[in-house]
Subunit: 254 residues, 2 copies
DNA sequence: CGAAATTTTGAAATTGATCAACGCCGGTGG
DNA sequence: CCACCGGCGTTGATCAATTTCAAAATTTCG
C-alpha cells in the first residue's frame, strides 16, 4: 500500500483542455488531434513522476494507458532470483501499457529514470471510444501491433553478440532521441540510464557493457563523455550489427 | 510470385455455415460463438496447408488473420546471416497474425510443420466488426495483449540456462497441447518440430537441445520415444525452471 | 533397401559472466 | 574546505556455459 499512496500523491497536472497545447508529442498522440488542437480524450489527465518513482507496479489493477510526454521511463520485471530484467526504455511520445489492456492488472513495473510527465488515458473510455471512432481503433491496433514488433525486435537482439547488441542499442537510442546533431558532426545521445541498466536491458553484465563501449571508443566509432555518447561513425555501427559474428570492431572499422 | 501461386492453389474448405460445426476450437474462437453454433464472422473461409507449405511470407500484403484449427505452424524470420529465428509454435486454437494488423504487410514467415487447417478471417471485416461488437473488440484486444505477454515471456526465457529453457519449453508445450494424459501417468506430448527447430526457437544449438534432453531423460524426469516425450515428473521440471542457475538436474531431481 | 536427414556423442574453442580491485565523481558532514 | 563515503565505471584475471567442429548412430522416406 505504501507505493499506492506514493502514486496517488503524485502531482496531477491541470486537466484543462489547454494541457495539450504545450505537449511536444501531440502530433503523434494516440488520441489524435482534434480541430481545437487538443486530443480526442475528454477525460485524460496528466501526472508528473519524479526520478525513481514508480508509475505503476506489477500486480496492480490497471486503469489507464500512459503516453509519455517528457522524461524517460523504464519497465521491468523481477525474476524469482531477484534480479531485474528491463523490458523497455520509453521516450517522449511512447505509449506505455498496451500489454495490459484487457489483462486486468499490470505484468511489469514502470519507473521514471529522470523526472517525467505522462498523460493518463482511462482504459474504459479508450475502449469505448473505439466503438465510435474507427480512426482511434486503427491507431490503437497499430500501436499494439508496433509493440508486438518491438518485442520481436528485442528477441532478435538477444541473438546478437555483445558488440552487436551495444551497437544496435546506440543506434536505436539515437533514432528515438530524434537525432540531435552535435557540433562536430555525428549524433550525440544522452543516456538516462546507467551501464548496469543497459546491461539488464540487453542481458549483458555491467562489465561487458563497459568493456564493449570502451572498445568502440578505442576503435574511433564513438566518443564517451559521462552519460553523453557521440556516434562518430553510425555507418560502421550499422555494419557491426549486420556483420557475421566472426567480424568485430577490428574488421569493421573503416 | 511462385509462393503466392502456391498459396492460392491451397485447398479452400467449404465456407458454409456448417464449417464451424466440427471445429474443435470454436469454444474459444476469436469470432465468438453465435446462437446457431457458428462463429461471428460471416465471411471467413477455411484453408488447408500441407506440411512445409507456407501460410504467408514476410513482406506479403496482409489480408487475413488466421485461426489454427488443426495441425501445427511455426513463424520465423531470417537474419541477414541467413539463419532462421523461430518466433513461435502455434497449436490449434491459436490466432496467427496479430502483429500484422494495421502493419500492411507481414513481418515474418509462417509455415506448417505438419498438415494443418486454418480459418481465414478477413482483416477489414474484423476491424469493422469491432465497431459493432464490444465483445469482439475486447476479445481482439485481449488476444493482442496476450501475444505481447507471450513475447515478454520469451524474453524472460532467453535469460535462463539451457536446461531451464528446455524444461520450460516442455511444460509450455504440454500445457498448450491440452494435457493429453498418458496411460502410465504423467503427460505425453507429441513434438511436431525437430531438435534443430526447438534450438532455433530457444536460441540453443541443436546439440545442446539433444544433450539437455538426454540429461533430463537420464535423471528420470522425462521419457523420450522418437518425437514423443512423456513428462514423468512435471514438478521437478518446474523446480528446474524456478531454481537458481547454480542448481541443475542433479540437485533438483527428487 | 538405400540415401538423406536427423540425432547423438565427444572434444576443443569461445564468449561473456564472475570475482576482485581500483579510480572517479558527487554528496555529506565535520 | 576537506576528508570520507557510497555508487558507478573501468580494467584485469579466471571460470563456466554453450557453441563449434567432427564423426558415428539412428531414423525417415522415396
Amino acid at each position: 500500500m505504501t507505493f499506492t499512496a506514493a502514486i496517488e500523491s503524485a502531482a496531477v497536472i491541470d486537466a484543462a483542455a489547454g494541457r495539450c497545447a504545450g505537449c511536444s508529442t501531440r502530433e503523434s498522440c494516440l488520441g489524435g488531434l482534434k480541430a481545437a488542437g487538443v486530443c480526442g480524450f475528454s477525460d485524460s489527465s496528466g501526472r508528473s513522476v519524479e526520478r525513481g518513482q514508480h508509475l505503476f507496479r506489477a500486480g496492480e489493477a490497471i486503469h489507464c494507458v500512459f503516453v509519455l510526454r517528457s522524461g524517460a521511463i523504464k519497465t521491468y520485471v523481477t525474476a524469482a532470483s531477484g534480479d531485474e530484467q528491463i523490458l523497455g526504455f520509453y521516450s517522449p511520445g511512447d505509449v506505455i501499457g498496451y500489454d495490459s489492456i484487457s489483462a486486468g492488472k499490470h505484468s511489469r513495473n514502470a519507473v521514471a529514470l529522470v523526472p517525467a510527465e505522462v498523460c493518463r488515458i482511462p482504459l474504459e473510455s479508450l475502449v469505448q471510444s473505439c466503438a465510435q471512432s474507427a480512426d482511434l481503433l486503427n491507431r490503437l491496433l497499430a500501436g499494439m501491433g508496433q509493440e508486438i514488433q518491438r518485442l520481436q525486435g528485442m528477441l532478435k537482439m538477444e541473438r546478437l553478440t555483445a558488440e552487436q547488441r551495444i551497437a544496435l542499442f546506440l543506434l536505436n537510442q539515437a533514432r528515438r532521441q530524434g537525432r540531435t546533431e552535435g557540433s562536430a558532426g555525428g549524433y550525440v545521445l544522452q543516456l538516462a540510464m546507467t551501464r548496469g541498466e543497459i546491461g539488464r536491458f540487453l542481458d549483458l553484465a555491467t562489465e561487458t557493457v563497459s568493456r564493449t563501449l570502451t572498445r568502440l571508443k578505442e576503435a574511433g566509432l564513438i566518443q564517451i563523455d559521462r552519460s553523453g555518447i557521440r556516434l562518430l561513425n553510425p555507418t560502421a555501427l550499422h555494419r557491426i550489427v549486420q556483420s557475421q559474428p566472426v567480424n568485430s570492431v577490428e574488421r569493421i572499422a573503416a
